[in-house]
Amino acid sequence: MNRLRLWLLAVGGAGLAALLVAACLDLPGFGGRHHPYGDRAVQASLARHTANTISSVNFDQRAYDTLGEMSILFAAVLGCVVLLRQARDEHRAPPEPAEVARPVRRYALLVLPVALVTGLYVVAHGQLSPGGGFQGGVVAATALHLLYLGADYGALERVRPLGVYETSDAVAVCAYLVLGLASVLAGTAFLANTLLPYGTFNTLSSGGAVPLLNAAVGMEVASAVVVLLAHFLDQAVEIEEEHGS
């Protein structure tokens, strides 16, 4: 190990640690009552009939942040597609089928639909109970990969037309943006949640545009995770380098 680096690390780490500890001692005590923004957010959420305040913050009050967040996911997936593409000196070799113990295979096939339904449930109830597009999308996408875990990669590839997922990833981002632009066309601010009725508190259709934005994020996340994992799986399982390169 480089001696200079250790010295830098020791001095820099100690300095930063001292700074952070001093700052922690000056912070308001843990569990304090002073949360002006938070209190306003709860009121605003109730005013718009959204039972889950976090969803209201995510998809209504700070929907612009969520736009950035889903763009990060979109860009990262696009980046991974570009970075993990098949290079010139590589070729694909179909993987050998795996031999999986029967109970494990049965379990995977049994749990797959349950997990998919759970994912959809978590997305659909995003504006009511804990959950939302992101959480449900990841669960649904992970569920699909039970096919790889419980059977083999070939089985997964058969139910995974990658192009469709890539398109739906982009379409979901478009949908989110179009929903935002619609309010600009209507003469209000970007992403303003004023076009749709707010509905009845604590029902699936409450919150105006919140369920729609939530669904767009859910679709985007589910497709994005599938595409992301597909490229990693391709690299880990299929793509091989030409020898002697």
């Binding site: 830098l8 001095v11 820099g12 001093a22 700052a23 929907a63 763009s71 860009a75 290079a87």
Partner: protein, 587 residues
């Protein structure tokens, strides 16, 4: 009009999403046209908004207008500097897309629009960061900008150097972003707000007795994130590694405007969050920024001089110039802000043009190594002229925009720091002129290889195969960029316009007028003469200016090891804290 500000982000993102959705069916030319149209449309929108930015606009995204001074929405600012940066970003993206027109080797199969889409997302992210008025929103777009930049830097996956540079870039910048987020969390804990102006007011309300350790820590953490992006010493190590290996159009954006956005972020965050009585005292900020800026300029200039890899050389000159920007911003005068604004605009044009010329060399000869290319590019006369003109612009030869900006900044900074400005611009320009003389004119003997350095030979060209003839777009774009950099200094009234909009946003109503002064012109000519002299000396008497012993340790610091860079990042945060400490102790 103010409702249109968020469209600066939404339009490029929509364009990118459409490109990805249809990319599999589009022919390449259609994807490229879409990219140029969307990017150009955003640029037009930015220009229109900029022309209407007096008085400065604000927009509450989602229509959450403040009730009783309190809002739950996200604030987006539409003042001169924000929209000006967005315009610069958009125009530069447009020129980078034009430069890469039919230029890249085949895009990944089935993803025709992927590169263009990434560039559009990059544009949207940088615009979003420029117009952010909410600290967390700034973090989100900061991160988006970084993520796209990592992917674009590693775009050429066949290149060993490219993927290594991209990873270093990714790790260091992500760590900086997380530090920034820690700082934001601390500020939120103290004030309970996220909009920058509200945080500033909250700090003033709670900090009657001046700043405490919490304010200092949040200042250090937030600035660490921004200075990593701005590549200030000692946070700068990632920059040469990343900028030297990224594809040329991406380099144009990275060096031309992304790094400068870090400096812009420092200006914005200090001005709105920490400038009040509860924030960091002005003297401390000046000490911190001037010290780090001077160091950055010095290190950047020295390292720039000893490079042979041409893109790496240009990357170090960006480091040196960012140091100058930080010094100019650090003195906290309206003149300093104006000068830096003009300097950034001029520098963006010049630096992007220089990278574009380096890209021509790469695609024509498959090398960007000064030694290997010695005398081989004699026939590229247009490129040679542009390279030399770019070098003169870098040196600050009047009437380039860089010269005007540098002159105004020098005036604002004054005193012995003028030497830093003259020396840093002269040395970096001298290095570029030296490359011109050796590569395009074949002057002087072929230099000898040093021991510890990155060579630029054996690079893969970015086109499919070596070019036998340079496409027109690849020569037109740098020419236009250089002309724009010249126009910044020549067009009468442009400087005053920039100064007015910057002052309106930043310096509390103090209006200063910006014009050429004899003093500034003389200093500009002086640094140009110095640059020419240095280049001449280097070419004719290489032994006189070869690397002396004291430069070797400095070069050894740039080890390419990600662990070293992280250790330096921690060290830098500590140094920043130490530099800003006196004001906290004194209060």
């Amino acid at each position: 009009m103010h409702h249109l500000i968020p469209l600066l982000v939404a339009v490029p993102l929509l364009g990118a999403a459409l490109l990805v959705a249809t990319g599999r069916f589009l022919p390449r030319i259609a994807a490229e046209i879409t990219g140029v149209v969307v990017s150009g449309g955003t640029a037009a929108l930015a220009v229109v908004l900029l022309l209407n930015s007096e008085p400065p606009m604000v927009e509450w995204v989602g229509g959450w207008l403040p009730v009783g001074g309190e809002s739950v929405g996200i604030l987006v600012v539409g003042d001169g500097p924000a929209l000006g940066m967005a315009t610069l970003v958009s125009l530069l993206t447009l020129s980078a897309l034009a430069y890469s027109w039919r230029y890249f080797d085949e895009p990944p199969t089935g993803h025709t629009g992927a590169f263009t889409a990434l560039m559009l997302v990059f544009q949207g992210a940088m615009c979003g960061f420029a117009i952010a008025g909410d600290l967390f929103n700034a973090f989100v777009f900061f991160e988006l900008m970084s993520v796209v930049a990592y992917a674009l830097t590693g775009y050429r996956i066949d290149e060993a150097k490219a993927v290594q540079g991209a990873l270093t870039f990714g790790v260091v910048n992500s760590l900086g972003a997380y530090a920034m987020l820690m700082g934001i969390a601390l500020l939120y804990a103290r004030t309970g707000e996220l909009a920058m102006t509200k945080i500033g007011r909250g700090l003033d309300a709670t900090g009657h007795s001046g700043p405490d350790a919490l304010v200092l820590a949040s200042f250090v953490l937030v600035l660490t994130g921004l200075l990593v992006k701005a590549a200030a010493v000692p946070f700068h190590f990632w920059l040469p590694d990343a900028h030297a290996v990224a594809p040329t159009p991406v380099c144009m954006l990275l060096s031309g405007v992304m790094v400068e956005l870090g400096a812009y972020g420092v200006w914005r965050v200090y001005g709105t969050v920490f400038a009040g009585p509860g924030g960091i005292p002005a003297a401390d900020l000046t000490r911190a920024l001037v010290t780090l800026g001077t160091l950055t300029a010095a290190v950047g200039a020295v390292m720039c001089w000893y490079q042979r890899h041409i893109k790496r050389l240009l990357a170090y000159s960006t480091v040196a110039h960012t140091g100058l920007f930080l010094v100019g911003l650090g003195v906290l005068t309206p003149e300093g802000d104006d000068g830096v604004a003009l300097y950034i605009i001029g520098h963006a044009g010049v630096k992007a043009a220089l990278f574009a010329c380096a890209g021509v060399l790469l695609d024509r000869f498959g090398s960007v190594d000064e030694h290997a290319l010695h005398g081989r590019a004699r026939r590229l006369r247009a490129t040679a002229v542009m390279f030399a003109v770019g070098a003169l612009g870098l040196a600050g030869l009047p009437p380039f925009g860089t010269a005007l900006g540098k002159a105004v900044t020098e005036e604002a900074v004054g005193g012995p720091l003028t030497v830093v400005f003259v020396a840093a611009s002269a040395i970096t320009a001298g290095a570029v002129l030296r490359v011109t003389a050796r590569v395009f004119l074949g002057l002087g003997p072929r230099p000898e290889d040093a021991e510890y350095e990155t060579s630029g030979s054996d690079e893969e060209p970015e086109t499919s195969g070596l070019l036998s003839r340079i496409p027109d777009t690849m020569t037109t774009v740098p020419a236009v960029l250089l002309a724009a950099a010249l126009a910044v200094g020549v067009v009468p009234g442009f400087g005053d316009l920039v100064a007015a909009s910057v002052n309106e946003a930043g310096s509390g109503g103090a209006h200063v007028s910006v014009h050429w002064t004899l003093h500034g012109v003389l200093l500009g000519v002086a640094s140009t003469v110095l640059a020419v002299a240095l280049a001449g000396l280097a070419v004719t008497r290489p032994a006189w200016v070869s690397a002396p012993g004291w430069a070797a340790p400095l070069r050894r610091l740039q080890s390419g090891h990600v662990g070293d860079y992280v250790a330096w990042l921690l060290m830098g945060a500590t140094v920043l804290g130490a530099l800003a400490l006196p004001g906290v102790l004194g209060s």
